[in-house]
């Protein structure tokens, strides 16, 4: 506990390891002066599962399925980044059709993730009817995922050198039907999130991350783009078929003409990206050439090739929450010598500190949620005031947030 915390004017509240707005357990220790946050400390690792270590004792094909289990929401980005890294080390060429199919899966995942996040954000500030409405829309995207991959969450679509399932011409109408549904509902979502007065009151000027801080702290994904940094691996260093598709960086000034780097701006970026993803999938369906979907369909042969490979490489992808990067070192053995996974949240933890400084306790849920779309069900917060420990459970913290919204509405 820092010296500051022991003075009479400030007190500390630890939040987490199970946090109201995060699926992954993270612990915050806030130093509070009255209602204002004056210091933040973050501690991690409450759910470290040694996946990298395990991966160094599995062959590359097994690692694909292991990587899928790193995150339930980015269950496509992780194995795919690993596959990209391995393909670059081994010099495996991916068929053109597979490149387009990979884009479709990636963008579909982005839609699911961003819409899920939008629902969580609404819930955090007390709009549960909006939560249900948004998740109803997400359900359509999940149904489409199930139609294309056979699964709703753990998709098992990735293969080194391509993908495992094709989209045949008779499947296209069903895909288009879902896309039309998403497009039709997008306008409703836009109105709720961007034009609603209460939404604006709770999110504008709240949890600000300046452009300079975003760059210094190496933030990534929508978090950094909402602060005006044009950083998107899809455009910076195009992979898959992204170089053939028409799209551009999404920063909040596209819509409002200015960048504030607040929670509202992060909502703008994510919502516009949902629309962008729908358009990208449509472009892919149009432009996809005929051809094979995987370069080497025989897995034992592929494994035998990979066993002889020596070298190191990186695979980078723009996941819904930001850049995913995998480093792989192969040394001519059955298992990778080194495998390092970097998920986007890893880099978006430090930016929380400038975002939360000066905010109120009631803003913690929405600010913390604004970088990341996950949400936990059991939460507990302890308040230490004059060395007396009292606990705030998740419901109380959520109630504080809802009450603030109500106050603003009056």
């Amino acid at each position: 506990m820092s010296k500051k915390a022991l003075s009479k004017t400030t007190y500390q509240i630890p939040i987490g390891p199970i946090h109201p707005a995060l699926k992954e357990p993270v612990q915050f220790e806030f130093t509070i002066d009255g209602e204002r946050i004056v210091d933040v400390d973050v501690s991690l690792g409450h759910v470290h599962r040694s996946i990298e270590w395990t991966g160094m004792h599995r062959n590359p094909i097994q690692v694909l399925y292991l990587a899928e289990r790193i995150c339930g929401i980015c269950s496509y980005c992780h194995p795919m980044s690993f596959a990209l890294a391995v393909e670059r080390v081994a010099g495996i060429e991916v068929p053109e059709r597979a490149d387009y199919l990979r884009v479709i899966q990636g963008e579909l995942e982005r839609i699911c993730s961003h819409v899920l996040w939008a629902g969580v954000a609404a819930h955090e500030i007390g709009f549960d009817s909006v939560l249900f409405f948004t998740w109803q829309i997400r359900e359509e995207a999940l149904d489409l995922t199930e139609y294309l991959t056979g699964n709703r969450v753990t998709k098992a679509i990735t293969m080194i050198g391509g993908v495992r399932r094709d989209i045949t011409p008779d499947m296209v109408p069903r895909v288009k039907k879902s896309l039309d549904f998403l497009k039709a509902n997008f306008e409703k979502l836009r109105k709720i999130y961007l034009d609603d007065k209460t939404f604006k009151m709770r999110t504008q000027g709240c949890g600000v991350l300046t452009k300079e801080n975003a760059l210094k702290l190496c933030a990534c994904g929508p978090t950094t783009r909402a602060s005006g940094v044009k950083k998107d691996v899809r455009l910076d260093q195009p992979y898959f078929a992204f170089d053939n598709l028409d799209f551009d960086y999404v920063t909040p000034d596209v819509l409002t003409g200015e960048v504030n780097g607040d929670v509202y701006d992060r909502i703008i970026v994510r919502l516009l990206e949902v629309k962008q993803s729908i358009e990208l999938i449509e472009q892919c369906l149009e432009r996809m050439p005929e051809g094979p979907i995987v370069s080497e369909p025989k897995i034992p042969k592929l494994l035998a090739t990979l066993k002889k490979v020596n070298g190191e490489g990186i695979g980078r992808m723009e996941a819904p929450r930001g850049e995913v990067i995998h480093y792989v070192k192969l040394t001519g053995q059955e298992f990778p010598y080194c495998w390092k996974v970097r998920a986007p949240t890893y880099n978006n933890i430090l930016p929380w500190i400038p975002m939360l400084l000066g905010e109120q306790i009631a803003d913690i849920p929405i600010v913390a949620a604004s970088t990341d779309p996950c949400m936990s069900c059991t939460n507990r917060v302890a308040i230490v005031k004059d060395n007396n420990r009292s606990y705030l459970d998740k419901e109380t913290l959520h109630k504080l947030s809802v009450e603030k919204t109500r106050r603003l509405m009056q």
Partner: protein, 179 residues
């Protein structure tokens, strides 16, 4: 994001070699292609001597004011522990970004490296992670405590080591682990 003129990958390596001379080894430029337009993108790899590493990062910051440090990877090579710093520069423009991967070899007898958090504050978590996973010492790290490994994990055991300080034996004999 860069304000000055953008250098080509060859020029970048040359600019490093002009300053650090023999401290730069094993440099290579990898070009990969993507999509049906076969757009090329470049990954630069180089190995820098530990003594020149921090100055090399400072030099990198002249090329790009805020280089993006994605993460630091690391592995145990027996005699040495190698760290790989994954930077990206020249982002914000379509297809122009370069990935710069800098490898630093640390002898196992003295696995120490200077912190770069004073230059790039975003490096904190990944430096903490390297300390606990590989048993290296980052000199001058502002927050010298464990980030991911729990506090009750045995001291002196480093999960990514491949020698006797690695967790191999512990994992096989979990029934013997007390506490």
């Amino acid at each position: 994001m860069s304000e000055g003129a953008r250098l080509t990958p060859e020029e970048i390596i040359k600019s490093f070699k002009d300053i650090f001379k023999t401290d730069i080894k094993d440099d290579r430029i990898e070009t990969h292609k993507a999509g049906s337009k076969k757009t090329q993108f470049t990954h630069i790899w180089m190995c820098i001597d530990r003594s020149a590493f921090k100055d090399a990062v400072k030099h990198l910051m002249k090329l790009e004011k805020y280089p993006h440090l994605a993460v630091v990877s690391g592995y145990d090579m027996g005699e040495t522990i190698n760290l790989v710093y994954h930077f990206s520069i020249y982002f914000s423009e379509r297809g122009k970004e370069l990935s710069l991967n800098i490898t630093v070899e640390l002898p196992k007898s003295e696995p120490e490296i200077e912190t770069i958090t004073d230059l790039i504050p975003g490096a904190l978590i990944t430096e903490q992670e390297k300390q606990e996973m590989l048993g290296i010492k980052v000199k001058g790290i502002p927050k010298d405590k464990r980030a991911f490994v729990s506090d009750d994990f045995p001291k002196g055991m480093y999960p990514w080591r491949k020698d006797e300080t690695g967790p191999g034996k512990m994992v096989r004999n979990l029934h013997e682990v007390k506490e």
